[in-house]
Structures are given as structure tokens and as C-alpha cells.
Amino acid sequence: MRRWPLLLGLLPLIPLLVLLMSLLERPQRQQIAVAPEQSSTSEPLRLESGWFGSPLIKLQAELPLNTAMGLGVELLDAGGATVLELAKDGWRETGIWSEGGESGRWEESDAGLRLSLRPPRLGAYLLRLTLEDLLDTAGRPLESPLLVRLEVRNHSVDAPLLWFTALVTLLMAGIAMRSIYRNCRLRKVLRLEDNRVRLRCRLGGAGLVRMELRARYERPSSDAGPNAPRLMAELQLEASDALGRSRLVFRRLLPVAAHSSDGDHWLNVNEVLHLKVREPLSLGLKLTLPETIADGGQPWEIEWLRLVLEDGVLSPRPVAVLTLEP
């Protein structure tokens, strides 16, 4: 058993946790009313220049329907000097669309501004907003003041990059875990119409020998389902070395699963056994299941038995391991 590679599955959580930490920050919010052709200044904003994320300033103008604006934005430092100046042209428009006999109302707008930047040092800054134009669709100036919502976050991160990183890491962690847990050797795949399998194979060394057994039983000439509520089947495993000496005899009662579909009934027996063989050696294996399973009616007869034998298996979880007698 080797558990540490399972921790690789936690790696994609790292970028998502960083994103969550960023979203948990409480933003600074203000509302600023600006009259046409006048300026309004915000309350002081604290902009940080730390290692975790960067400041994000978001402005959203509450434009009336069918209007357009020209908004001047100045970022001032604590001394009142302009450190950044820009103009935002915004609009909000609505109307009726009709196409193919159908119609409805549409509304579109572009009245928001996102400003991602990093100040040279931590400090208080101000935003001065000037409503240079507020017009209706005919180009007539409006006199009503404009409400602008301001939100500032100091620990904004690159969310799309974090999502991409989580996805790529998930993919690569899956490949890494598969390269560790599925790096085994497939020795045999057998499917027999018999209740026993005999084979000899060179097995052993690092990892475990894994035997995956699957069998199917059917009633030969009856469509009746199972009579007994719980059926069991005994599995017997015998292992012998190159000289024919018996090194292992193992018996286990296995639960039998009943299935049915479209009036057809059958039983399945599934089991996985792990065997530790310290040194590679020629090992004879004999696996036996009952030829029939009785449940009061016509007995169930074996249809087929399938065995997948692998060597060098590492398990991510604890498993019961059989060992050879010396």
C-alpha cells in the first residue's frame, strides 16, 4: 500500500482555495452622485500593494434608459496630485426587436469600468468623477445627477488563470496517480467455461499479485429467479511452487449477487484477491468455484469464469494480503 500519491488529488484545491480567500475579502463600497458638468470626489480609498493580489477598482454608473454619458475619472494620491486620468464613454439603450413574427424588448448597456492596477506603495487615494456629458438618444443634455457605485478590492487575483491552473493540475495529478497505481504488469486474462482455472506463471517481487475473479451462473433450462434470499459460493485458491509443493491453500465464502433483465435471471460472483510473493518465482495457481449453486429449485450452473492476473500492483488503500507459507 502506498498512500502519499493520493495527496496529489488535493493539489487542484490550492488555486481554488486562493480564489476563495480572495473572494472572502470585504470590499470598500461607496456611492457617488455626480451632477452634469460637475465633479464629485469619493471618500479616501485605501489601496494596498502587498504580495497577495492587487487592487481592483470597479465603477458602475446607474444610467437612466436611453441615455449616454461621458465620465471623467481621476485617481488622486493623498497629496491631491493626479496619478491617473481617463474618460469613460457609457450608454444604456432599450428598444423592441421583431424577427420571424416574434418580438420582444432588448436592453444593452456599457456603463461599467474595471481598473486593475498596483500602487507603488500602500496609501490613501481619492477618485474624482466629472460628468462631462449626460445625453438622451436625441443628443439633448439631461440635468439629473448620475449615481455611480464604487467598489474597491485590494486582493483581486486572476480568477480565470486560477481556474485554468486547477483544471491542468487535476489532469496532471490524475496522470501522476495513474502512473503510480496502474504501473503493474498484466500477466493473464482468461475466460473459461469451467468452474476452475489452473495456470503457472512467474510472479512476485515488488508490489502485489492481484487476482480479479468473476463468474456467472444460470439455470440450464428454467427461467425461474433465485428462491433463497441469500446465496453463497465457496472459492478455493491453491498455490504451489516450482517443485509442486503446496505453499498456500485458501478458502472463502463469497456472496452471490442475483441479476435479472427481461425475464432472464443469472448470478454473479466477484472477488479480488491480493497475494504477496516476495521473490519472483514460478507459481502454480488453481482457483476453484462450485460447479453448481443449489437454492431449492433447479440448480444454477456455471456459465463462465473470468480471471485477470496482474503483478507489481500498488494499492492506494489497505487490502487484505495473502502470503505464501515458507
Partner: protein, 76 residues
């Protein structure tokens, strides 16, 4: 096979480290005082740029093209 596994592990750890660190530190973000102006976005025009660490306003206002709506042709 062991060397391939090591390579996959190194690549996995590198991907999570570089991606997360870049998303947090944002090394290509505009810093106040840096030469030039921040990259523009929809409807935004900068009225100046940084030269020698100082914000230098540009002369005159940009030509504002009034109503910018795209109209019902694109709305569904």
C-alpha cells in the same frame, strides 16, 4: 519508468506553483509610475501617460462619438 514518474510529479507541482503564484502576484499588471498607460478597455481612453515616473496629461479631450449603442440588430 521511475524517471518518467518523477518527471510527471515535477511537472504537476510546477504547474500548480507557477499558475497560482502568477495569478496571485500578477507580474504583468500595470503599476502606477510605470512608463506608458494601462491597457485600454471598452469605452475607456486614458488622458495621459507616465513619463519618467510622472503622470503627464495629454492635451485636449478625445473625440466622443456620442451614442455608442449597438441597437436591436445585435440584441436577441
Amino acid at each position: 519508468m521511475a524517471s518518467e514518474r518523477t518527471l510527471i510529479l515535477v511537472l504537476t507541482l510546477s504547474a500548480v506553483t507557477v499558475g497560482t503564484a502568477t495569478a496571485v502576484s500578477r507580474p504583468f499588471l500595470f503599476q502606477l509610475g510605470q512608463e506608458g498607460a494601462p491597457p485600454g478597455s471598452s469605452g475607456v481612453s486614458y488622458r495621459g501617460s507616465y513619463r519618467g515616473g510622472r503622470w503627464v496629461p495629454s492635451r485636449g479631450r478625445s473625440d466622443w462619438s456620442r451614442f455608442q449603442g449597438r441597437g436591436p440588430g445585435t440584441a436577441k
